[in-house]
C-alpha cells in the first residue's frame, strides 16, 4: 500500500476529528449553495441575518489560527507581554462599537470601497480603497496558511509544510466559490461554537488533572512550586521565570537585547539599564494601538456589519461579539502557561516549525500517559478547532477579497453593464484566482510566527482603514484628497515597515527561505545598531496612525473647497436612526442629482 504511506504514524482519533470538521464544513457550504441565488445573497447574505447568527459568524470568522494556536504559543514563549494580544483582539471591538459599527451600517453599502465612493462621490477613491482590501487580506491569509501547514504536518507526520497549505487552501477556495457569503454565514457561526468547545473542554480536563490556571502561573516564582502542581525542568532556551511572568519580558525587549549583544561586555549592563524598559514601554503601546485600532479596520470583519438589518442591530451584534470572543480568549493563555510547566521540550522547536505554536495541539496528548485514548481524543478535538480556525478566517478573507475584486473591480470598473449571471461567474473566478495567490504566499512564511504576522495585518489596517472610517464618520470637513492621502501614506508606511521586518527575519532562516531572502541579511546588522528603528518598524502603529490622521486633517483643510456638496445629508444618513426614513430620501435625491 505505497499510496497510503503518508498515513503511517497517524493517530486515528486526531485524524477522525479533523476529518469530520472539514467534511461538515464542506457539506454545509454545498447545502447552502443551493439556497443562495442572487448576487445580494452572495455578497451580504440578503442583509437579513439575525443578531445571534451574525455575532456567532463574526466571532467564528475573527478567531483565526493566530487566536487558536498562535496566542497560546506566544504566551508560552514570551509570557506576560503576549497577553496583550488576546486582550486587544477582544477589546478592539469596543472602538468599533463606539465609533463605527452603527453609522457604517446605516450608510448601507456592500463593501468598504462602496462606502469610500459613496461618502466622497469619487470612483477614484474606490480604487484606492480596493487596494487595501487586498493588501490587508493577503497579509492576513499568510498566517492562516502557516496554521494549515503546521496542523497538517502534525496530523500527518510525513507531510511537507507546503502540502498542507495547498490542500487546505484548495478545499476552502472551492467551498467559497460554490457557496458564497450565505453559506459562509452559517458555516462561520457553526465554527465559532466548534472553536469554543475545542479550546474549553481540553483546558478544563487538563486543569482537573494537572492543577488550575492560577496554580500553574504561581509555579513561575523563585519561591518554588506549590503543592499539587507538577513541573518539569525548564530547558535552556526557555525564558527565566522572573522575565517570563513580569511585564517587559522577552517579546518587547528583543530589539534592545540584540543591540546589547553586539556591544563590548562591560558596556552592556549600563546600556540595558538605560534603554531596556523605556523601549519596551514604547513597544507595548505601539502594539496596543495596532491591535485596538486594527480591529476596527479589518475589511473581512467590517463587511459583516452590512449583513445586519439596521444600525441598532449592528451595535447589538458588536456587543455580543465582544462577549463571545472575550470568553474564548481567556483560554488560549492557559494552554501556554500549562505547556510551559509540563511540555518545556517544545521550546527547543522542531526543524523549521516553531515548537511553541504547536502547544495547543500537543499538550492534550500528555493525558495519554494516565488515561489512554483520552489524550488522543482531546488532541483530536483541538486539531478540529484549529481546522475550524484557519478555515473560517480564510474563507471570510476570501469572500471579502473576492467581493472587492468581483464587485468593485469587475462589476464597477471593468464591466458596469454586466448581468447578474455574469457577476456570479466573476465571483467564482475571482475566488479561485485569490485563493491561488494566497496559497502561493502561504508557502513562503513557514519561519515566521503566526501571531506576529496577524499583528502586522492589524498594524496595516490600523493605519489605513481605521483613520478613514473614523474620520469619515465623525468629521464632515474631510475631503476625498485628504482621506486618500492619509490612508495611502499611513497604510503604505505600515506595509513597508512590516515587510522589511519580515524580510530580515526570513533572511535568518536556515532553510530554503534564508537563501531566497539572503539579500536582506545586512538589515539585521543595522537593526542591532538602531534598536529603536527596529521597534518602530516591527510595531509601526505608534507613528503610522497619527501620521495618517494628521495628513487627513491637514490635506482636508487645504482642499476644503472640495467637501461634497450634500455633506449634511450624508451625515444625517450616517447618524440619524433608521426610523426617520432618511436613507430612502437620500437615495432618491442622489439618483436625481448626481446622475448615476
Amino acid at each position: 500500500m505505497t499510496t497510503l504511506a503518508f498515513l503511517n504514524g497517524v493517530d486515528p482519533w486526531i485524524f477522525a476529528f479533523s476529518f469530520v470538521t472539514v467534511a461538515a464544513t464542506i457539506w454545509m457550504g454545498f447545502r447552502s449553495a443551493k439556497t443562495s441565488k442572487t448576487a445580494s445573497d452572495f455578497f451580504v447574505a440578503g442583509r437579513s441575518v439575525s443578531v445571534g447568527w451574525n455575532a456567532s459568524a463574526i466571532s467564528g470568522e475573527y478567531l483565526s489560527a493566530a487566536s487558536f494556536m498562535g496566542v497560546a504559543g506566544m504566551v508560552m514563549s514570551s509570557g506576560y507581554d503576549a497577553l496583550w494580544y488576546p486582550v486587544c483582539y477582544a477589546c478592539g471591538y469596543l472602538f468599533l462599537l463606539l465609533f463605527i459599527a452603527g453609522p457604517l451600517r446605516r450608510f448601507g453599502a456592500y463593501t468598504i470601497p462602496d462606502f469610500a465612493e459613496g461618502r466622497y462621490d469619487s470612483p477614484v477613491f474606490r480604487k484606492i480603497a480596493v487596494c487595501f482590501v487586498l493588501f490587508i487580506g493577503f497579509f492576513y491569509t499568510m498566517p492562516q496558511m502557516k496554521g494549515a501547514g503546521t496542523v497538517l504536518a502534525y496530523i500527518f507526520p510525513g507531510m511537507p509544510y507546503w502540502g498542507g497549505v495547498v490542500l487546505v487552501g484548495t478545499v476552502i477556495t472551492l467551498n467559497v466559490a460554490l457557496g458564497g457569503m450565505k453559506g459562509i454565514t452559517l458555516v462561520q457561526a457553526f465554527q465559532y461554537w466548534i472553536k469554543l468547545f475545542a479550546i474549553t473542554v481540553p483546558v478544563f480536563v487538563l486543569m482537573a488533572v494537572y492543577g488550575l490556571y492560577n496554580g500553574h502561573v504561581s509555579a513561575n516564582t523563585p519561591a518554588g512550586v506549590p503543592a499539587g502542581i507538577e513541573r518539569k525542568a525548564l530547558v535552556e532556551k526557555a525564558p527565566k521565570d522572573d522575565k517570563w511572568v513580569a511585564p517587559f519580558g522577552p517579546l518587547t525587549t528583543k530589539a534592545v537585547n540584540a543591540a546589547a549583544a553586539v556591544l563590548p561586555a562591560e558596556e552592556r549592563p549600563a546600556y540595558l539599564a538605560e534603554h531596556q524598559k523605556p523601549y519596551s514601554l514604547l513597544y507595548t503601546y505601539s502594539l496596543i494601538i495596532a491591535l485596538v485600532c486594527g480591529t476596527a479596520g479589518l475589511p473581512h470583519i467590517l463587511v459583516r456589519f452590512y449583513t445586519n438589518p439596521d444600525g441598532v442591530a449592528a451595535k447589538r451584534t458588536t456587543m455580543w461579539v465582544m462577549i463571545l470572543i472575550g470568553v474564548f480568549y481567556v483560554f488560549p493563555p492557559v494552554f501556554g502557561v500549562i505547556g510551559r510547566n509540563l511540555m518545556p521540550e517544545l521550546y527547543t522547536g522542531l526543524a523549521g516549525i516553531k515548537g511553541t505554536d504547536q502547544v495547543v495541539l500537543k499538550l492534550p496528548t500528555l493525558l495519554s500517559e494516565k488515561y489512554g485514548a483520552l489524550g488522543s481524543i482531546l488532541s483530536g478535538i483541538t486539531c478540529a478547532g484549529a481546522f475550524a480556525a484557519f478555515m473560517s478566517t480564510f474563507s471570510g478573507l476570501l469572500v471579502s477579497m473576492t467581493g472587492a475584486l468581483a464587485h468593485d473591480v469587475y462589476g464597477r470598473m471593468l464591466r458596469p453593464q454586466a448581468t447578474q449571471a455574469e457577476r456570479l461567474v466573476a465571483f467564482k473566478f475571482a475566488a479561485v484566482l485569490i485563493g491561488g495567490v494566497a496559497i502561493g504566499l502561504g508557502c513562503f512564511v513557514e519561519p515566521l510566527e503566526i501571531n506576529f504576522m496577524v499583528g502586522q495585518a492589524f498594524a496595516i489596517a490600523a493605519a489605513s482603514y481605521f483613520p478613514l472610517l473614523f474620520m469619515s464618520v465623525w468629521w464632515r470637513g474631510m475631503t476625498m484628497k485628504g482621506a486618500a492621502t492619509g490612508m495611502l501614506s499611513g497604510g503604505l508606511c505600515a506595509l513597508i515597515a512590516a515587510a522589511l521586518t519580515n524580510f530580515s527575519t526570513l533572511a535568518l532562516d536556515k532553510g530554503p527561505m534564508g537563501k531566497v531572502f539572503a539579500g536582506f541579511a545586512p538589515l539585521n546588522g543595522f537593526w542591532a545598531q538602531h534598536p529603536l528603528l527596529r521597534i518602530l518598524c516591527e510595531q509601526p502603529a505608534i507613528w503610522t496612525v497619527p501620521l495618517s490622521i494628521g495628513l487627513m486633517v491637514f490635506v482636508s483643510k487645504a482642499t476644503a473647497a472640495s467637501v461634497p456638496g450634500d455633506i449634511r445629508m450624508k451625515m444625517l444618513v450616517l447618524h440619524a436612526p433608521e426610523d426617520l426614513g432618511l436613507k430612502q430620501e437620500y437615495i432618491q435625491e442622489h439618483s436625481h442629482g448626481a446622475g448615476h
Binding site: 497577553l83 469596543l94 462599537l97 513580569a246 441598532v312 432618511l582
Partner: protein, 99 residues
C-alpha cells in the same frame, strides 16, 4: 419628488444634525475614555510600580490577573452601558422629531 413629511424641515436643519452628532459622540467619547484609562494605564502601572503589580493574588501576579482575566468583564460592562444609552438616545431622537 416624494411628498414632504411635516417633520422634514426640522430634520434637515443644521441644528438637528449638530445636536444629533454631538450627543452620540459625547456618549462614545465618555465610554472610550473609561476604556483608555484602563488600557493605557496598565503599562504605566507596570512601568512605575513594578513591585505592586508583581504582588501575588491567588497565584497570579496582580498585573496578570488584571490583564488576563478581569479586563474582559470590565470591557463588557462598558459596552453594555453604551448600548443601553445609545439605544435610549436614538429612541429619544425619533420621538422628538415625530412629536
Amino acid at each position: 419628488m416624494p411628498t414632504p413629511t411635516p417633520h422634514d424641515d426640522r430634520v434637515h436643519s443644521e441644528e438637528f444634525l449638530h445636536t444629533l452628532m454631538r450627543r452620540q459622540l459625547k456618549l462614545s467619547i465618555a465610554c472610550a475614555a473609561a476604556f483608555l484609562v484602563v488600557l493605557l494605564g496598565l503599562p504605566l502601572a507596570n512601568y512605575f510600580a513594578p513591585a505592586l503589580m508583581a504582588t501575588r493574588v491567588f497565584g497570579f501576579t496582580l498585573s496578570w490577573l488584571v490583564l488576563g482575566v478581569l479586563f474582559f468583564p470590565a470591557v463588557w460592562s462598558i459596552s453594555w452601558y453604551f448600548i443601553r444609552h445609545s439605544i435610549a438616545l436614538e429612541d429619544d431622537e425619533v420621538k422628538s422629531v415625530k412629536r
